[in-house]
Symmetry: C2
Subunit: 114 residues, 2 copies
DNA sequence: CGGACTGTATGATGGCCATCGAACATTGGG
DNA sequence: CCCAATGTTCGATGGCCATCATACAGTCCG
């Protein structure tokens, strides 16, 4: 292939990891962060594919937020789809629960002290 | 009180936290460590009160091991009782499972990749 | 008593990770 | 075509945590 087609204008699709390919330690580490727990809970409170990253109300800047979503994708917790300039999100409830039964439910339960 | 009674010779009993008083983030952080996962699994593989700290086969020194047990106590995962120079351990299965249903089972399941 | 064993405390060290600011890329709209 | 909005990437920074070596304390036994 001689030269690249001058970049089609496509943005690289986000890299996903299926929960089945996620190690227990990876999942626990991903959930052991207050910002990410908040992201997951906010995500669970709205229908799938309705929230773009900027819609989440967490006390960190855009860069950190982007990093957290990368971690959540890598742990099989979140799926992302590009739509226009936005990146819509979906919580992978069934798939993650099949791999780590009960873990997501625990995270979504609000009756905790932390 | 003028001077200390020259130390009675008692060792301070280990400080415990009941799982009900443990925050979700504390529990997840405690479990998000490979050495502590290994300790918990080894502990689960033997009857209660049969393993002293030095019996665990983890690739860290005594100081680090002692630190890990402190973390596990603080997360409501382990109970300790002094017997002679040894400190015997017990996994708080029922209590922890009542507070965080399924989390301990997940940790003990060996079918993970990490 | 004295020594072996067990565990804790302390200080130092190194590494990992969350965060930020700034620069950049993509998209869509005026 | 320019601009605003959205996200990512990069380098730097700071803090937290796991680890170690060392020193210390308690327990038991000979």
């Amino acid at each position: 292939m001689p030269e690249q087609p001058e970049a089609t204008g496509h943005r690289p699709a986000p890299v996903h990891t299926h929960p089945d390919d996620v190690a227990l330690l990876t999942a626990l580490s991903a959930l052991a962060d207050p910002v990410r727990i908040q992201l997951i809970r906010e995500l669970a409170s709205q229908p799938d594919w309705t929230l773009s990253c900027s819609n989440f109300d967490v006390p960190v800047g855009r860069a950190a937020k982007s990093h957290h979503f990368t971690v959540l994708r890598g742990a099989g917790l979140v799926e992302q789809r590009d739509q226009g300039p936005k990146r819509l999100n979906r919580l992978r409830r069934e798939e993650f629960d099949a791999r780590f039964p009960g873990l997501l439910d625990l995270t979504l339960r609000a009756d905790d002290l932390g």
